[in-house]
Symmetry: C2
Subunit: 321 residues, 2 copies
């Protein structure tokens, strides 16, 4: 019997579910549409059917050892999703308790960035590292901090919000209600804001002057920078400077061996890695210089979230097995 866990990644538009073995191979997967479920109970019923179908559908006989869930605003201690702005399920959703009506195996939940960090540590770029940080550069900026091989959940389960450390207390408006969070600079939307500031500030002509704010994507900015567009290149330089500065602060907290950049903006490759690495070294305290690796994710692109959620429960099982 092959031992597997179900990795469940809950996003604003889709919910990915996959069966993953202890080595990090995803044997089968399926997806649900998040907005199909007005109620979390309906979702769990559907997820239970999906997992059952996936277990039955493969030729290999499998035992389900546990369920790991990555979700926005997921709280590991409470097993709940708490006030997630991008989900229709409002307030505190005790998702682990609902899952436990269907399962006797361990069910574990955390936020998506934490799941990504555990995934990188078990199957990806941080394999073998005991001290590392994963930063997700997507619509927002998330982070998961690992110290001594364990994810840092903190006193309340919400630790690891480097995206909401403050770059400039008088800076850009953030969705969190404050101003100047790292997320407003180093996310997909953040680099777009930087481009629009640069378009306003200079007269430099360029590819991005024809695009509306609504149209423009981080991918467009990366494409323009690859073609040598001056505004796009400067936007990556500025983004790397700000991200590098805050990563230097993060290093001063937990002194990691590696920092892994993950998510949409990280796919811009050297455009974002080169300036971020340069400024991170520039702003880092001398005792930490040339010690911290800045690495891309090593999880397969479309599978990273499922593998992260699966790694979350595998890591719990390892503590008891």
């Amino acid at each position: 019997m092959l031992e597997v866990v179900a990795g469940v990644d809950i996003g604003g538009t889709s919910i990915e579910i996959g069966l993953v073995d202890r080595g990090g191979t995803c044997l089968s997967r399926d997806a649900l549409v998040t907005t199909d479920f007005e109620d979390p109970q309906e979702f769990v019923t559907a997820a239970h059917q999906t997992i059952g179908r996936l277990v039955e559908a493969t030729a290999i006989r499998m035992t389900l050892r546990g369920i790991g869930i990555g979700a926005p605003n997921g709280n590991y201690y409470h097993g709940s999703i708490e006030f997630a702005p991008n989900l229709a399920w409002k307030g505190i959703v005790p998702l682990v308790d609902i899952f436990k009506r269907f399962y006797r195996v361990p069910v574990v939940l955390t936020n998506d960035a934490n799941a990504a960090a555990i995934g990188e540590g078990m199957f990806g770029a941080a394999k073998g590292c005991r001290h590392f940080i994963v930063i997700t550069l997507g619509t927002g900026v998330g982070s998961g901090i690992v110290v001594n091989g364990d994810l840092v959940y903190g006193h309340d389960g919400f630790a690891g919000e480097i995206g909401h450390t403050i770059v400039d207390p008088n800076g850009r408006q953030c969705n969190c209600g404050r101003r100047g969070c790292l997320e407003t600079y180093a996310s997909a939307g953040g680099i777009k804001r930087t481009v629009f500031e640069l378009l306003a500030h200079s007269n430099t002509p360029g590819l991005l002057r024809s695009r509306s704010y609504e149209e423009l994507t981080a991918r467009d900015i990366a494409d323009a920078a690859s073609q040598g567009d001056a505004i796009a290149c400067e936007a990556f330089e500025i983004t790397g400077r700000i991200l590098g500065l805050k990563l230097a602060d993060a290093i001063a907290h937990t002194s990691p061996e590696a920092i892994i950049l993950y998510g949409g903006l990280a796919q811009a490759g050297d455009l974002i890695f080169e300036p971020t690495r340069r400024y991170m070294e520039h702003f880092t305290l001398n005792i930490f210089k040339n010690k911290v690796k800045l690495l891309p994710s090593a999880l397969p692109q479309g599978l990273a979230a499922i593998l992260g959620a699966a790694a979350l429960v595998w890591s719990e099982l390892e503590k008891t097995d």
Copy 2:
């Protein structure tokens, strides 16, 4: 036989040595003059004699269970003092190895702020807390971060340098060679620099206009603020704003239950605690608001460093006892 450890605190001017039992009582103590020892070997010989004398001198029969050392730039993993700017002992000093020529009991070393954190956790304001941060506001700004009951040493043993997170990359010159570190604002010297900026910026008369930069101390500023001096009061407000901002960043990293302020500037009491607490709450992400206690040290004033060093080795012994 009463079990005790020796707590050794190495400072730039004096070295404090005390015998401490498991409950945190310091039974006897002595001090050496740091500059008397050109060579660390001479110091260890003298420390060995001092500890021996302290053990013999008391009426109670004692067993020495270990030696804990707090020292500037102390590295826990290497057991060494590394490039400490305020000590005559240059380069890497393998102090634990030198002590082990005299002792078979465990000898453990870390930096002074980390020792303070372990001391607060075992005997002081953070007793019973599993997630907390100690910030030392003295000549410099040090910090010790505790996660899940364990001090965070990081990959290289140098984690917990919140004093060298950056407030303003174009800001004040720091002794570390960079600019704008928290230490240049929130230390005893930092608040003095703020006073001098305010004296230059405004025409407000006040008690501090008669003092030279060399003369003025943080204590003088606190005294002036207590008498309602406008410049001194504003300096505490600004210091609290900057410290509160960076503590909000620290909360976003490890989500502690409490932050403890320790050291000279923390003795200004409400003058520093009130604005720091107010701005920390103001700048903290909503999920962390009204959760984190900002507390003064609860270790006896002159004994804190000895108790911290002693707690360091008691905490090691607890792992094996």
